[in-house]
Symmetry: C2
Subunit: 257 residues, 2 copies
Amino acid sequence: VSGDPVELRAFGLPGVPEVRPGDDLGALLAEAAQRAGGLRDGDVVCVAHKIVSKAEGRLRLLEEIEAGPQAVELARQAAKDPRQVQAVLDESAEVLRAERGVLICVTRHGFVCANAGVDASNAGAEGVVVLLPEDPDASARSLRAALRERTGVAPAVVITDSFGRAWRLGQAEVAIGVAGLAALDDWRGRRDADGRELTATAIALADEAAAAADLARGGKDARVPVALIRGLGAHVTADDGAGAAALVRPAVEDLFR
Amino acid sequence: VSGDPVELRAFGLPGVPEVRPGDDLGALLAEAAQRAGGLRDGDVVCVAHKIVSKAEGRLRLLEEIEAGPQAVELARQAAKDPRQVQAVLDESAEVLRAERGVLICVTRHGFVCANAGVDASNAGAEGVVVLLPEDPDASARSLRAALRERTGVAPAVVITDSFGRAWRLGQAEVAIGVAGLAALDDWRGRRDADGRELTATAIALADEAAAAADLARGGKDARVPVALIRGLGAHVTADDGAGAAALVRPAVEDLFR
């Protein structure tokens, strides 16, 4: 992969309508891209997970959830709806921290984030929570295949969410599902500009792409869940690749759990 | 601040020469921007910290460092040069973890990163380590003032470094010094697209800008330490603002130390 500087362009794709369970999201994305002048080889389509989850029906009605004792207790401490906490627990492999109204969870995919990604904002209706996709890498592969089918071009697809971080304030957009982009660009063993071996550098390309897309999509009040990044073609692969799973730090190698 | 989608452009500014202590980095950046067509209002100039540190003389010669007992012991465990470990300790307010050859430190600025940001790669010579700037927000303000002086335009300036993350593999570029950009875009109290109040969303804009710049700068083998981002003008302020200090999570609020 070339390390040369590139000109990157990132822009929101307006006109994606409110997504409902069962909608053909691939078709909606293809239409939005078409209106923006069409897809090109090497494009990266970044999609906020919320519309992927909605299309896949990954929604729960709070009224259909019965909170168990752990959810009731955690909800009491955090001043939250116990049914929403139960939804969080149902999506969690492990709760790392439950303090100050915040639940930091390991999702079943291995991601570490607040509330296991379960969120009521932009859910489309009161009393509804949106979950992360069941298998976001599979969702990305499927959207990529649908885009290829409809447009003849196979852009990389990155499904994103806003995660908080240890140590730093604010959320940053990260990749939770990837197809066709090297999520991790591994420079270990390669050399720096002085010819000195780089010992421990792997760049989380897909997370950086997610961040760039977030800047282009505008704020959370602007309903633009999709952005296109042009200029990363050197990292876009014909194969779907290892996906965002490559970004999950194995628990045994993680010093901060 | 408008939440509308924008078209973002990010591109490397080639032609910044090898930087040495005492160089006028503001002048070098102004010239590089001029060659790329000049600065415009609302531009964000992202600068890899290494050239800022070099211009500021934030370098140490290993041969001039005497390792103390703690450095010797940590270096033994990690198979590192004890003098380099001493340089890390000298830049650290606290060592959070020392395991598996990795030192995760809190820098005197409050940043949490490997080796307190002390790095030998791209240092320009063997036996030299590069430190983080003494006060990266002040460095950013100073570069902004120099650019304003020389070009009549006051772009935002973001000084960046690659940090590893808890829980996720790979490094991502983050902001360590900021002038003229809202480092943290606080959406708390504002409403989502459904009109529902957003309870806990603040976006680490400056970190996302750093990430976008990193994608545009190319790989660590391409000596392009500067990138320009165009399209974030809605977040660029006349005041220098609170800087990257706004991104430091106070230790007492941090669940992962």
